[in-house]
């Protein structure tokens, strides 16, 4: 067996989720090669070479890969797919975008968002918004997998000494182009890797009121998330949505404020170690999963929490 891991990065730094993907690759077994595709991404390749357990790094540095366009990335990965038995990517919007394209081009099945490796052919994955865990098996010689980052403890960032090989394969499908992006800027930790997350729901009332959550977040070094209702209502941007169809988080502490606890929301946070719910409705389903529930008006409780931290 040999595994190709697709590195997640922004051309400057290696995203920590890749460490979790390498952890999944280690459980599968065999040599681990990491592919870094981007533009001006040499530093990322250097960082990937130091990651524990990695035996080789391939670096494809070209304009065509700068924005991770799925059409170009998929063609590149297919070209390099050679003898690898498993091709792994993180279940991020980048991985979810290009990986199925690779699978289809290779006529290989994809298993999405694995949460556990049973053996090289058998994996666990959540289905039905995490209300069931399926154990699935695939005997094909080549498989594509996306990995749920929060389900695997990342390997060490240091300790490896892989070689970096430049790849000069240029795949520009010419059917898609990058127009622009609006990236959220925040000094707070990234939602999916933060130790503490505090999220607001429809109960927050409006976007300005999120300020009280930001204050608590800054005291705790926490990231701030939201329910779909809060995003749909325009209180906060889409990248803050936690849930089945948003981001999956599993911090040490998750504080849900003014969130009712719909199954789609729970799907994104119920693997958190400790859950706190603040809600004025004592019947809210969120209390059924909360370790500590506080029945209170959030506009009183949250400022008080802020003052007592």
């Amino acid at each position: 067996m040999s595994v190709l891991v697709y590195a997640e990065h922004d051309n400057a730094t290696l995203n920590k989720v890749t460490l979790s993907v390498v952890a999944a690759a280690k459980e599968i077994g065999g040599d681990i090669t990491v592919l870094v595709a981007g533009k001006g991404c040499g530093a990322v390749a250097e960082a990937a070479a130091k990651v524990d357990g990695v035996s080789k790094v391939l670096c494809a540095d070209n304009d065509a890969y700068e924005h991770q366009l799925a059409e170009n990335i998929a063609d590149l990965v297919v070209e390099l797919a050679g003898d690898y038995s498993h091709i792994l990517a993180a279940a991020t919007t980048t991985g979810k975008n290009f990986a199925p394209r690779v699978a289809a081009l290779l006529d290989a099945p994809q298993i999405s968002e694995i949460s556990d490796v049973v053996d090289g052919d058998t994996f666990k994955r959540p289905i039905y918004a995490g209300n069931a865990i399926a154990t699935v098996k695939c005997a094909d010689a080549k498989k594509v997998l996306t990995v749920r980052g929060t389900s695997f403890d990342g390997v060490a960032e240091e300790g490896g000494s892989a070689s970096v090989e430049n790849v000069d394969v240029v795949k520009d499908a010419g059917i898609s182009s990058f127009v622009g992006e609006e990236l959220a800027k925040s000094d707070r930790p990234e939602l999916t890797s933060a130790d503490i997350v505090i999220s607001g729901g429809r109960g927050m009332g409006n976007g300005d009121n999120f300020e009280i959550l930001y204050k608590v977040a800054d005291k705790l070094g926490a990231a701030v998330g939201a329910s779909r209702a809060a995003v749909d209502a325009g209180f906060v941007p889409n990248d803050m949505q936690v849930g089945q169809t948003g981001k999956i988080v599993a911090p040490n502490l998750y504080i849900a404020v003014g969130i009712s606890g719909a199954i789609q929301h729970l799907a994104g946070m119920k693997d958190s170690k400790v859950i706190v719910a603040i809600n004025k409705d004592e019947e809210a389903p969120i209390f059924q999963v909360a370790d500590y529930g506080l029945v209170a008006d959030l506009f009183e409780a949250v400022p008080e929490l802020d003052s007592k931290l």
Binding site: N131, L220, D239, K308
Partner: protein
């Protein structure tokens, strides 16, 4: 131009499914079924493009059991002009579904295919991307805005870091995210009219595709249950518990 909208019949999103006692799957007997919510968004987007005069015909397609005709009728009540059911009782998987859809694309030659980004049962998030690959089309996944002009489509995508806009040549595949639109409800007259719209039934063999699954489900289990903890009486008590009992702050 013509738009193809693949839709899937799934368990209604309000249902909390139960795992069968023998761990062979989830219990779907007598459970409310509906159109996958992301597919509703796909139908709505196609209808809006038609209302804007960009689109001339909307064809809905589903691969699934006979009962999926209900969801196709719903799609036609919402504005699809006709529909195709590729009837199979086998639980087809994304790659097989994408192959069947490719056969339909080859026949229908749509300029745009709009799918949901994920089905809320399998949660695979694969079908649209696979179809794009098999047909050689570009893809605009997780769309929150779609603009068709000058033989191209501009798609704003919801990505982990925020929003990204890409421009794709046509024909193209688009998959919908939650913020793309708010689907309308079908009116009674439209539901009646939909009953008369054409619904073509085909067999997978007619398309020459093999829907046999490549991934087998060994077992399906309940996730570890979380039990409710305690209610605290005050913010002070909460802070105390978090510091001294849970030791997380």
């Amino acid at each position: 131009m013509k738009v193809l909208v693949p839709i899937k019949r799934v368990v209604d999103y309000n249902v909390k499914v139960r795992v069968k006692a023998d761990n062979s799957g989830v219990d779907l007997a007598n459970v409310k079924m509906a159109m996958n919510p992301f597919c509703e968004i796909a139908v709505e987007e196609a209808v809006r493009l038609k209302e804007k005069g960009v689109v001339t015909e909307i064809v809905a397609v589903s691969i699934g059991p006979k009962a999926a005709q209900e969801q196709l009728r719903t799609a036609m009540a919402l504005g699809a002009d006709r529909s195709i059911l590729v009837e199979t009782d086998e639980e087809a998987q994304p790659l097989g579904i994408a192959k069947a859809l490719k056969a339909i694309v080859d026949e229908e030659k749509p300029e745009l295919v709009i799918l949901g980004k994920q089905a809320i049962d399998g949660d695979n998030n694969q079908t649209g991307q696979m179809l794009a690959a098999l047909t050689g089309m570009p893809q605009g996944t997780f769309a929150s805005e779609v603009n068709v002009a000058d033989g191209k489509v501009k798609v704003t995508r919801e990505i982990d870091g925020g929003l990204q806009t890409v421009e794709l040549s046509l024909p193209a595949v688009v998959t919908t995210d939650l913020r793309l639109n708010e689907p309308r409800y079908a009116s009674l007259p439209n539901i009646m009219k939909a009953k008369k719209k054409p619904l073509d039934v085909k067999a997978p063999a007619d398309l020459g595709v093999d829907l046999a699954p490549r991934v087998t489900t060994e077992k399906v289990e309940m996730p570890p249950e979380r039990s409710a903890g305690v209610k605290v009486g005050s913010v002070d008590e909460l802070v105390d518990k978090l510091k001294n009992e849970a030791k997380v702050i």
